[in-house]
């Protein structure tokens, strides 16, 4: 596992062209392509596509967190969907409450509560009338939950397969609990039918465009945060924990603290992703937070290339893009492809797309070196 290229040998160099170019494309070019060209032009990017892309980028934020915990620290969490769900539900609850009297039943209560004959708004819903509480809550609730769970898990040195199984059980249990009606979280149907956010109509393309831009900015921020963490001394310790935990212990560090830190950051990023996901997609249900979605998140990182932040972003976007195209045309094939991806990536491309690109570049570099070396030999 001790791949030398995991720690970037030239800090500061790779935040160069690629970062700014991607940022330019995502932040400037795509919204402009959505707004400027006429609708029938081939350059035009539809509102739907932009909105879809915003969803993928929200997933990319989650993938960054997952890459920190799995790619860098080597702790496989199969329960990342839970943190995503906590963030999403916090924002979803706020959006539910802002519907107000526009709901189907015309009641102040969310529709599903009327349906379930809940007469009064449950106490834990009340703070979510406030937008700042919803925003903070969607990051703090997953953070707090991860803190407790992570503390218990890492303190007793639950690791490797054990940790993966426990987090998977967590995902299963969360899915079961969110599915219940008496938890007042909408049951199987989840939270949906949102109308507005801070007075802006969610159905307006302008609102969605703004949400998209916000997502890109958050992604950029998350990327810089993760970059800062991985470049710091703590980041070195994380990689050391992944490669040989006993050595880290013998060197006088406490791996549990580092793991907890990174687990909590990952959970906060997942919550942020959930918060951005909900207003763009317009629905959150337990189906998005269960065992299978949580595992799919791992495969985004694996496909992109774990241990590299760009890989996490690339993987989340490309797998979801592939998914949305393929489930459209061949719905029956998608599970085969997803399953195949798990196997192929793990077996043949452990460094993912980034690894493939790196290999290609090296190959190309060698060829170029040969090409330039030959004339010199002739000279000599």
């Amino acid at each position: 596992m001790a791949d030398p290229h995991d720690v970037n040998p030239q800090p500061g160099r790779d935040l160069g062209l690629a970062f700014w170019l991607t940022g330019f494309v995502l932040l400037v070019l795509m919204p402009l392509l959505n707004v400027l060209p006429p609708e029938d032009s081939w350059l035009h990017l539809s509102d739907f596509s932009l909105n879809r892309f915003g969803k993928f980028l929200a997933f990319a934020i989650l993938a960054l967190g997952l890459d920190l915990i799995w790619g860098y620290t080597g702790v496989l969490s199969l329960g990342q969907g839970v943190f995503f769900g906590l963030g999403a539900y916090c924002m979803g609850m706020h959006l539910m409450l802002t519907i107000g009297k526009e709901s189907v039943y015309g009641s102040d209560l969310p529709d599903f509560m009327v349906w379930n004959q809940v007469k009064e708004l449950p106490l834990f819903w009340k703070p979510f009338y406030s937008f700042p509480v919803a925003v903070l809550g969607s990051m703090l609730v997953p953070t707090a939950f991860a803190l407790v769970f992570g503390f218990l898990a890492f303190r007793s040195r639950i690791k490797g397969v054990y940790f993966a199984i426990i987090t998977q059980a967590l995902a299963l249990v969360a899915w079961l609990v969110f599915n219940r009606n008496e938890t007042n979280l909408g049951g199987t149907n989840g939270l949906t039918d949102f109308k507005q956010l801070l007075g802006f109509r969610l159905s307006e393309p302008g609102t969605q465009r703004a949400l998209y831009v916000l997502t890109v900015l958050c992604l950029g921020g998350a990327f810089l945060l993760c970059r800062w963490i991985t470049r710091s001394r703590a980041g070195r310790v994380l990689i050391a924990v992944r490669d040989s935990e006993p050595r880290v212990v013998f060197s006088g560090y406490t791996p549990a603290n580092y793991k907890l830190l990174v687990f909590v950051v990952a959970a906060a990023l997942a919550g942020l992703a959930g918060m951005l996901y909900v207003p763009q997609v317009g629905i959150i249900t337990p189906a998005q937070i269960g065992v299978l979605p949580s595992l799919e998140m791992v495969i985004w990182v694996a496909v992109g290339g774990r241990g590299t932040l760009a890989g996490a972003v690339l993987g989340a976007v490309s797998v979801n893009l592939g998914r949305s195209v393929l489930t459209n045309y061949f719905p029956e094939l998608w599970p085969f492809i997803l399953g195949g991806l798990f196997v192929v990536v793990v077996l043949l491309f452990p460094d993912g797309l980034i690894g493939i690109m790196r290999q290609a570049r090296e190959r190309f570099g060698q060829l170029k070196a040969k090409a330039t070396a030959l004339p010199e030999e002739e000279l000599g």
Partner: protein, 530 residues
Amino acid sequence: MRNVHVTRLSCSGVAAIVTRLSLGLLVLAGIVCLVAGQARAAGAPPSPVLTPLEQALTQIASDDDAVREAALRVVIEQGDSTILPRLEEIRANADRSVRLAIKPVMDLLRNRAKLEGPDPDARRSAATDLGTLGKPLAIPWLEQAAAKESYKWVRYTMLESAALLKLSGQDQAAKLGAVNSLGDLASQNAVPALKDIVAAGSGAEATEAQQSLADAANASIERIETWAVWSTAIETLFRGISLSSILLIMSVGLAIVFGLMGVINMAHGELMMVGAYATFMTQELFKAFLPATMFDYYFAVAMPMAFLVAAGCGLLLEVTVIRFLYGRPLETMLATWGISLVLMQAARVYFGDLTAVAAPAWLSGGLQVMVGVYLPNNRLFIILLSVICVITIYAILFRSGLGLRVRAVTQNRNMSACLGIPTRKVDAYTFAFGSGLAGVAGWALTLIGNVEPGLGQNYIVDSFMVVVTGGVGKLAGTIVASMGIGGLNKLLEPSLGAVYGKVCILVLVILFLQWRPSGLFAIKGRHADS
């Protein structure tokens, strides 16, 4: 040919047939009326050859209520199942009030006949029916039948029904006796009737007799309820053991592989599904190629089939995927999860969503061990199977050459390799064996559920938890952990509900791992890193 003919009939043809039929019915009804009229005109027996029963049968469709009642009484007292066809005939031709009057008579006679039938289950259901029909007349029948009855639980039902009927009678002494005997029988069915008696006895204008009856009823209800508490406790225990043994059969293969290779096979659930489908295919083959009398044996044949097919799949999996991921348990988890997705979708595409296996006759039904406790045969079978599995695995691990090697590699892989044990071969065989066990688990699960692509998913997370809680390397850990998790599940379910029971178990497992981070029975060693 006939079908073709019918479909070619014109509408008018159909109408003509209907008219003709209804005409015929009219004529028939007329004849019946005539006959009935003659019988009434004759008044006294029309001819001396008729027995009282025969006479009653002719009078049963009478318009005169008194005559009909008398006739029905005679029919009930003297009749038996042989006159049922005749009653049916009368009923078919009579009007509504007569039909309503005849129906309970037929039920009584039919059930009375069944009370003496050869099939104990039929005798028992007849006794239950007689109890609910509410005719005190049936009391002596039930008591006579009970005296002759050799099956304990059939006799129990007969006595219970007789006592229930006595409760609705008028005889005070008999009622008191019935109240006491229902208490003795711990009859749950009697509680509503007993509560009625208590209510009647506690009123202001209750007579002394009613009050004493109410006291007796109260005592009986108390006894019945105490018994119910015990029987619920025993049933909960049984359900817990049953779930535990399912978990055990599922986890044991996983645990062996985990102990040996440090790998959790996330496709284990799908290998179970493979075993279940192998069972299903065996059933279909038996249906298609063998006579129906052989059908009940298919289930026995399906067991080795399920084992072999699943073991084959496991071997293939080991050779093509897992072998290359040695020493990388997390990657193995992901890859095997991918395989599980592929297998599940393949089953969905090929077999469709729902197929069921018919349990063989000898596994349907159940065993009643005490009043209110009924143990289904299929669950008992699974418990037995889990015991057999554990014994077999112990025998293989501790009494065979392969087992010796498996234990050696589990304890110290490098040392074993140095001593000439082909560790990779041991891995492959063990993985195949663990997969085969998953197949057997799938075979057993067909008894209690449908065969569907998602079959493996139902319990799989639970069985991962069992493996993690049990720890590696010792089978005892798996046994204790599956008992604990299965038992707790069923223990918490009545009070917390299934979902919060699961939440509770997850919390308990996490807390347990605080105390024992690598499970119940961790291998002791000097490894700094496991």
